[in-house]
Amino acid sequence: MDGVTQLQRQFVEHATSLYREGYLDDQFTQLQKLQDETNPDFVVEVVTLFFEDSEKLLNNLATALQQESVDYKQVDAYVHQFKGSSSSIGAQRVKNVCVVFRNYCDEKNLDGCVVCLQQAKNEYLLVRNKLEALFNLEQQILQAGGSVPMIV
């Protein structure tokens, strides 16, 4: 069972680092609490939904900002959506970028918006990679017959 403990320790380290570095916040913990026997894949489902949603939104945003005359209302609506979903799963850094993004939209500052979009994309990719790594570890633990430790 050494491998499992090793994996579990890795998992805990990875997870705590995510919280410590601000990638995830308390909301993610809440989501995890909702996962139980009746709903074993809840977190993965929600997170996958988030990934799909975000890809769509980011593409839409890129298109919207490339228009000749940018419709800031539309851009704002997308960012609002993005902010909503990221805060629902606790992707803190993404959410923070969205807040700044919205300010630029209000000011109709195209350069600021473009920069923010890039930042949002970066943050999203980062958090996606981290979450995928986390889920991988989870799978490995489960396959090795261990149980996933709870992070409080």
Binding site: L34, T38, E45, A77, S88
Partner: protein, 739 residues
């Protein structure tokens, strides 16, 4: 005379006849030429008023001439014609000459008077010349005065004013020396302060009380003084033959507070300076009147200029002082603000820091109590619990009080059951009271409403504190608590003359009286009762514990509730009575009362809601799934829709609660709420509408409640929050439904 005819040859012995002949001829010539000359010159002159006289005169002269001319023919024998002509001429001449003579009688006085007039005019012209000379001099003097004044007034520096005065006066009047003597501080001497030619006058002083000086000071005119008087002895004794005349004038030194616009102080100022002016020696110049006038005017101007300079100095000094004070005040204010901010920060931190461990201690100790313990352990745990409760109360009290002082404390306003509040107080106090064998009675008047609107927690705190004090300070006897609805006339209490309660339409005043038979309070202690930390010095109360804050806090709360509180006692050992009034609101009709933002009190509600049919509206798929998961975890039967329209299609009365994410675009949330209200008019059929929002604005919450939401929950929602919110919602609905 023999008539001799004129012969070509003169008879040699008629010389006389010849001379006569020639003379007559010349006379005639002259006579004829004079009128010619007259006519010529008169024609030339434009103004000659006597032409007629001239004609007469001319005629007279011509005829005279004619007579003499005709004489020429009469030397020899002449014919009768000549005689006739001669006679005619003579007659005419006679007539004209008489007429002329008569005329001249009138004319000559006139002509003479012309001469007099000429003389008169000449005199007048000379006089006018003189006067003009004087005026010019005066004009020049005036110019000098103006120039001097301008020079003097162009500066506000006292030193410059005086120096300039002396210089300009010296220049204008051509003085040899000019000096200013100022009175010393003692007022007994005059000190030489400024002179024209000496740069730094060696401090000569001269006693004030000398006759010459008194004479000068007694009048505002310039006074001539002797060149030998002490104030004038400034010039180096160079053995000049004749010292120039000296004039002295007083310069009033006005005090600031003597400055009245229309009341030029004459006799109230006693301080004068002395200005001494000396004409050059050996110049035989005298002081002219206009020069003296100039000096007087200048002296006045100098006085005015000096006063202005003094005023300016004063006001500059005052302004500097004010600026300094301002700076100091600003500094003090900033320090005070910093101090307040520091204190608030400290309190905020300590609030959290102190409360967290306290809660941990209390929570864990109470948990520990539930476990199996030996009797000693149980005793220890109970002590720990009691002490930590006391400490928690103390912390809360201190923090409350400082918030109260800040004025940052706001009372809650919610509807609560007044009767059960009192009952709860009674229940809390009964154990302690029964241990001390005190009877506690409660009487609530029948007109006191059952429900009231106000701050339940703080009201409880007040009543508990008062009742607790009553119990604490009574060793035996009884405590009686009575609460009544205050009558308008009884609201004015003679003991509280500044208390003017004004019950309004939706408010009422409640009067609570707590009477005990305890140790009482002495008269001198009564005023200190509500002061912070002040405890009475009597030994009986010394050891009863308490921080001394309770009554102070009560008073603050009562004041916040627009009421009044006081304690009466007849003396030591005679018990005491505490009375307070507070203003509470009347609840609106119960079936319309809405729940405000849900209070998260840790009531033990339902832990799960099996089969509760709920609808979730959220256009964000991630957020929707998260909320669904949450509700599923709590056991609900969840349906999800992603837009308002879908919701309206799906909604039936089977759904008990609708969770709406209010970031729905536009006015959708409002429309959905409206639709639901309209579709289910009967209250017990209508699903509860709960808004989920991330907006922490108070006004946003109020708006949501106004458009028809039953409750508002702030995102992010935790499982606990959702559980509590749901259970409260459903409880309330049940209550309302059963009411």
């Amino acid at each position: 005379m023999d008539c001799n005819c004129i012969e070509p040859q003169w008879p040699p012995d008629d010389l006389l006849m010849k001379y006569q002949y020639i003379s007559d001829f010349f006379i005639a010539l002259a006579y004829f030429s004079i009128p010619l000359e007259l006519i010529y010159f008169v024609k030339k002159s434009a103004v000659f008023p006597y032409r007629w006289v001239l004609v007469q005169f001319g005629a007279f002269i011509v005829l005279c001439g004619a007579t003499h001319l005709i004489n020429l023919w009469t030397f020899n024998v002449h014919t009768r014609t000549v005689a006739m002509v001669m006679t005619t001429a003579k007659v005419l001449t006679a007539a004209v000459s008489c007429a002329t003579a008569l005329m001249l009688v009138h004319i000559i006085p006139d002509l003479l008077s012309v001469k007099t007039r000429e003389l008169f005019l000449k005199n007048k012209a000379a006089e006018l010349d003189r006067e003009m000379g004087i005026i010019r001099t005066q004009e020049e003097t005036g110019r000098h005065v103006r120039m001097l004044t301008h020079e003097i007034r162009s500066t506000l520096n006292r030193h410059t004013i005086l120096k300039t005065t002396l210089v300009e006066l010296g220049r204008t009047l051509g003085l040899e020396e000019c000096a200013l003597w100022m009175p010393t501080r003692s007022g007994l001497e005059l000190q030489l302060s400024y002179t024209l030619h000496h740069q730094n006058p060696v401090g000569f002083t001269v006693p004030i009380q000398s006759p010459a000086i008194n004479q000068v000071f007694s009048t505002n005119r310039a006074v001539k003084i002797s060149p030998n008087s002490p104030v004038a002895r400034l010039r180096p004794a160079s053995g000049k033959y004749m010292l120039g005349e000296v004039v002295a004038v007083r310069v009033p030194l006005l005090h600031l507070n003597n400055f009245q616009i229309y009341d030029w102080p004459e006799l109230t100022t006693k301080r004068y300076a002395l200005m001494v002016l000396m004409l050059p020696s050996d110049s035989a110049r005298q002081w002219h009147v206009h020069e003296l006038e100039l000096v007087e005017v200048v002296a006045d101007q100098v006085a005015v200029a000096l006063s202005h300079a003094a005023i300016l100095e004063e006001s500059m000094r005052a302004r500097d002082l004010l600026m300094e004070q301002n700076v100091a005040l600003d500094h003090a204010r900033r320090e005070a603000e910093t101090a307040v901010r520091a204190r608030n920060d400290f309190l905020a931190v300590m609030n959290h820091e102190m409360r967290t461990p306290m809660h941990a201690i209390i929570a864990l100790s109470s948990l520990l109590q539930e476990t199996d313990l030996t009797p000693e352990q149980r005793l220890m745990v109970e002590t720990i619990l009691k002490s930590s409760n006391l400490l928690a109360t103390l912390i809360n009290d201190v923090l409350d009080l400082s918030r109260l002082e800040d004025g940052s404390l706001e009372l809650d306003s919610a509807s609560f059951n007044l009767h059960s509040l009192f009952k709860e107080v009674l229940n809390l106090i009964k154990p302690v009271a029964s241990v001390k064998r005190l009877y506690v009675t409660l009487s609530l008047s029948s007109d006191l409403p059952e429900y009231a609107v106000g701050d339940e927690k703080r009201l409880m705190q007040i009543i508990l504190n008062i009742v607790g004090n009553a119990v604490k300070f009574s060793k035996e006897g009884s405590i009686s608590i009575s609460a009544t609805m205050a009558k308008p006339d009884s609201l004015r209490d003679p003991r509280a003359p500044n208390f003017f309660p004004l019950p309004g339409d939706n408010n009422f005043y409640m009067r609570v009286q707590v009477k005990d038979t305890g140790i009482g309070i002495s008269q001198q202690d009564i005023p200190k009762l509500f002061t912070k930390f002040a405890e009475s010095q009597s030994p009986a109360s010394r050891n009863s514990g308490g921080s001394g804050l309770g009554l102070a806090i009560c008073k603050r709360f009562v004041n916040l509730m627009e009421g009044n509180i006081w304690i009466e006692s007849e003396g030591v050992g005679k018990g005491s009575t505490a009375i307070f009034y507070v203003k509470l609101g009347l609840p609106v009709r119960l079936n319309e009362s809405r729940l405000p933002h849900l209070r998260l009190q840790p009531k033990l509600g339902q832990t799960s809601f099996p089969g509760l049919k709920v609808l979730v509206i959220d256009d964000n798929s991630v957020s929707r799934t998260a909320t669904k998961g949450l509700l599923v975890h709590l056991g609900c039967d969840v349906t999800t829709v992603s837009s308002g329209e879908e919701c309206l299609r799906v909604i039936t009365k089977d759904y008990k609660v609708v969770f709406m994410d209010v970031s729905l675009p536009g006015t959708e949330s409002y429309n959905v709420a409206r639709f639901i209200h309209d579709k289910f008019p009967k209250r017990h059929e209508k699903p509860l509408i709960v808004a989920l929002t991330g907006n922490t604005d108070k006004s946003a919450k109020e708006n949501l409640l106004r458009v028809g939401m039953d409750a508002v929950i702030l995102k992010p929602v935790s499982v606990e929050k959702m559980r509590i919110a749901l259970s409260e919602l459903l409880d309330h609905k049940k209550d309302v439904h059963e009411a």
